[in-house]
Amino acid sequence: MLEIKDMVVAYGRVNAVKGISFEVKQGQIVTLLGTNGAGKSTTLRAISGLLKLASGEIWFEGERLDGLPAHKIVERGIAQSPEGRRLFRQMSVEDNLKLGAFSRKDTSGIRAEMDRIYDLFPVLGERRSEAAGLFSGGEQQMLAIGRAMMSRPKLLMLDEPSMGLSPIMTQTIMRTISELQADGVTILLVEQNAQAALSLADRGYVLEVGHIMFSDSGQALLGDDRVRKAYLGAD
C-alpha cells in the first residue's frame, strides 16, 4: 500500500533521515521504533508532504506521492496525528473535528464520521462545544486521533500517541488503535513505548540516527535481544 524507497530528508544541510526503505501493507499495523532524534517524526512529516525529500521516492497505492502538496496527500487518503497532538486549542472539539475533515465536502458523510468518533470517545461528544485546550492529556489524544480519522483515511499515521499519558490511558489508546485496524484502517505507528507498540504491530522497523537498523514481525521483535536491551529496559 505504502512504499518508501531510499528516502533522504534533510533540515537545511543536515540529513535527518539518511536513505530508508520500508513498506506498509494494506490492513497492517506497522510500527517505527527508535530513540529521540532517530528521525521517526521526520519520516512521517515527509510522507505527509510537510517536508520535501532530498532524494528517494514515496509510493502509495501505485501512485508517486513525493512532491505533492500536503493537502493533496490528505485527499489521497493519508492522515496524520502529529507528535504532541497539536490540536487547535482555542477551537471547540467540533471545530477541530471539522478541520480534520477539511478535504471532504460531503456534509452528511462528515456528520456521520463525527458521530462515529463521538461513539468511540463519548467524552468528546459530551463536551463537543468546549475548547480543545481545556481537555486532559488523554482526552486531547483521543481528539487528535479522532481529528485525523475525520478525513476517513486509508492510512492513519500516529506520532507517539502515548506521549505523556498514564499507563491506563495508554492502554485505552492502544485498544482504540487495534479497533481501528479491525475496522479496516491501515496504521503506521511511531512510538517510544516499544512494549505497547510491538504487541499490536504486524511489523516493526527500528530506526537509529536516520537509518533502519533492522526489522521483523512485531512478535519477533518483542523477543529480540537487541530490542529488549535498548527499548524494553531489560539487561
Binding site: V74, R86, Q90, K98, L99, F102
Partner: protein
Amino acid sequence: MNTVIPDRIKIAYRYPARAVGAAGALLMLVSIFLPWAYGTAALDDMSYYGAPSPLQLCFGVLALTVLALLTIPLVGKQRLGKWAKVLAWNTTAKTASITALITAAIAVTSVAVELGGLLNVEIGGWLVIFGGVAAVASTLFLPDSPEPSLDEVKSPKWLQILAIVVLMAVALFAAAFALGQVDAGAFLTFGSFLVAVVMVLRQFGVFGWLGMAAAANNRVLVISAFVVAFLFPFTQNGSNANMSIAAQVLIFAATALGLNIVVGLVGLLDLGYIAFLGAGAFTAAVLSESAYSHFNFHPPFIVTVLISGLVASLLGLIIGAPTLRVSGDYLAIVTLAFGEIFRITMNNLDGNDGPDITNGSNGIPDIPDLNAFGFNFGQPHVILGIDIGRFANYYWLMLLVIALIIVVFTNLNHSRIGRGWVAIREDELAAEAMGVNTFALKLLAFAGGAFLAGVAGAVKAHHDVSVTPDQFIFLESAFLLAAVVLGGMGTVMGVLIGATILKLLPEKLRFFSDYRLLLFGLLMVVMMRFRPEGIVADERRQLEFHAEDEELAEEVEEELITHKAHLNPEREVFEL
C-alpha cells in the same frame, strides 16, 4: 489593591469607611452646584453657582452612583436578597470612585491648562477632587465582592430587548454629545466619563448580563445598531464638520475590517495595508471625471468600485504570491516595504520619472461628487425638517458598504474557509497536516482583504475630493493595525469600536497634536497590559490570553472540593 489593607482592619472599619466614602460622594455632588473655574472659556463653562453645566451633571451621575453603591447595602443582606450576591457592590463602589476621581482630575487639569494655571480652578473643582480622594481612600477599606453573576439571573425577553434598544439610544446620544464638544478638555472629560460608566457597569455585573442578552438577541442587537447608526446624521442638524468626521470614521473602519481578516482571522502581519486603500482611491480618482485625470474612461460608480477593489486585490496577489509561502516575519517586512514603494511610485507617476497618471505629489484634485443610484451625493436634502448635507450621503453609503462587509465576514467566519483561516492562525503546520491548503487560503485572505480596502478607497476618493500620495503614509497602516488590535482581533464589533476611537481621538484632540502619538503609545501599552485581547474579545481567543486563569480556576476548584467541609465561616460577614 485589596491586599494592601489587612482583612482584620477592613472588618473593624467597614462602617466608618462606608460613612467617609458616602461623605466624599456627597461632597462631589455638592461641588457640581459650585463653580469649578474662574473663566467661562474652559470646558463647557463651569463658572456658575447653582447651575451645573452638562459635564458637571456627568459628575453628579458618578457621585450619585458611588453614594448609592455605598448606602444601599446598608439595608442589610436580608432585604437585598439575591441582589446582595449577583451584583458586585463593593468592588463597583471602588471602581466608580477611582474612575470618578480620574475624570475629575482630567476636568480640573483641563481647566488649569485652558485658562492658564491652577489659580483658575474655583472651589467646586477642589471640592470634587477632595470628595473623590475621600471616596477612593474609603472604598479601599471595603472587602472585595465576589464576581457578579447577574448574567445567570433569568430575565424576560422583552426586558433584554428593551435593554439593548435603550443602550443603543444612549450610545447614539452619547456619540452625538461627544462629537458636539469642540473644546478638547471637554471632549476628554466626557470620554473619561463614558469609560467610567462602562467600567462601572461591567464591574457591577450589568455588562455580563447585557452580553448574555446581546448573544441571545443577536439580530435585535445588529439591527438596532444599524438603525442607530443610520439615525446619527439626524442628530447633527446639518453640521458638516461632524458628519465629515463620521464618514471618515466609517471609511477607516471598513478598511480596518479588511485588515481584520488578514490579521485577526488568519494571523498574517500586514504593515503596509494602507497601500490597498490608496490603490482603490487612485483607481477611482483616475476613472473619475476630474479634469486632472488623464484617462477618458468614466464608468458608472458600481463599475469603478469593482475595478478599484480588483486593482487592490491584484496588488495583494502580486505581493502575497511570493511571500505567503515563506514564514510570517518576511511578510511583515515585505508589506512594510510595499507600503512605502506604493507611496513613492504614486509620487513618481508624474510624467517625469514615469508615465503621467497621478500628477505626482499633487495627486488628482477636483474629483466630482458621486453620481450613483440616480442620486448626486453632493446635493444636500432636507428630511423631516432636518438638513442632511453632502457628508451624510457618503456616511450612509459607507454604512451600506460596512453592512455588506459584516454579512460577508460573519458568514465566512463560520464557514469552512473561516475555520481554515483560524486553524492557520493557531498552528499552520497542523492545519497543513489536516489537509488545509494553507497557501491558497492565505492568498485568498490577502486578496479579499485588499479588495475591501480598495472599495473603501473608491468612496474615499470622492469623499475627500482629492487624492494625493502623502495620504498613504506608514503611520496610517500602523493606525489601522492599532484599531484592529485595540478593538479586538477577529471581531467585527471590536474593530468598529477600535476604528472609531482611533479616528475620532486625533480629530478631536488637534489641540494635543504634538503629543498625539505619545498618547496612543500609552493607550496601547496600557491595553496590552490589562486587556490584551482588545476591547471586545474573540470567543476563540479568550483561552490564548487567559490560559493561566483557567489553570488557576481549576486549582481553586480542586481546593474547594477538598476543603468543602470547613469553609471559612468569616466569609459570611465579608460579603457586605
